[in-house]
Symmetry: C2
Subunit: 212 residues, 2 copies
Amino acid sequence: MTHFSKQDIINLPSLERMHLVNSCGGLKSGNLIGSISKSGVTNLGVFNSVIHLGSNPPMLSFMLRPTTVERHTYDNFKENKHFTVNHIHESFVDKAHQTSAKYDEDVSEFKEVGLTEEFIKGFEAPFVKESRIKIGCKYINSYFIEENGCRLIIGEIQHILVEDGIQDKDGFLDLTKANSAGIIGLDGYVKTELIERYTYARPNQEPKLLKG
Amino acid sequence: MTHFSKQDIINLPSLERMHLVNSCGGLKSGNLIGSISKSGVTNLGVFNSVIHLGSNPPMLSFMLRPTTVERHTYDNFKENKHFTVNHIHESFVDKAHQTSAKYDEDVSEFKEVGLTEEFIKGFEAPFVKESRIKIGCKYINSYFIEENGCRLIIGEIQHILVEDGIQDKDGFLDLTKANSAGIIGLDGYVKTELIERYTYARPNQEPKLLKG
């Protein structure tokens, strides 16, 4: 067992510290966030911090770091209030990762990495055609994190698009059937396999498997 | 392709809506958060919203829902400022899920579900002995999310404990070697397999595999 104290972590070379701390919190979601600028340039960036916020109204959140790349996304949806969240699938993790390169503001990552824009009527942000699960969100608020200048972005879900064969009868999206990729740290992409689903837990009852 | 509009989602039966919205954002981390009350009762709860916040100082965050179960955890670390984040591993997803049952405040989930408390000197919160990756955090701030009464909790990392054979040379924790489980929605647990790691992405260069 290796024990890193806070001081040990701070003393690590910068890149080693980033790899360690970015990977220590556990698996992360792998999503591409799509947006479009006032002048019509589409933008696509990889994010690993999308989490569920609430079901009614349906909301999600993600953390925006204070970097140039992610600022293009932020500038866009501050302007027109719309962004999309598109699952990264096993078959295009390389393209998803490539969206993290620092492209100029007038360059569309869709074209650069080879993914396809898709629009739905009345919604001003591009979806990723290749994604099997995609969400259209309205930007509703952000919280500035004083500790390090990140912003927690709150989006209200306007649309969920799900390919056939992924959703269980009770509403659950089986992301292993969708081949949705997860992310470890800054640069590791994983595929997943379902272990089990369990029923609602109650005190003094053994955990029970949920039979689909 | 199934298309759910916001209104379709709101019109779903409550449980179906929860399953859909909780699973649509992608894979989630699987962690047990440990804490201890003023009167010495340990508490352990499953959380799927831990995300990386920053590396220097090392920080993480997670979302606390406005429910009774999670409030025990909150009350504890508001009091003594310490909590632990322990990876759920494939071998004990059933026990981890069982911590979500609504136990009384004077009951320790460690004992109830069959996991082992472990303390380190000078740190006032219990770790999970069975976890291969565990983090000791100091509570530093919380942000109240007006939209639905959740709280984003900010923790500064004081300790990272990692079992041998998990960390790559560059600092990265290979969570697939640790057998860390991920979570889908409210009740699905997954195991993972590494697809690839990629090098830092740059414009006009093909994505390159990182060779360990």
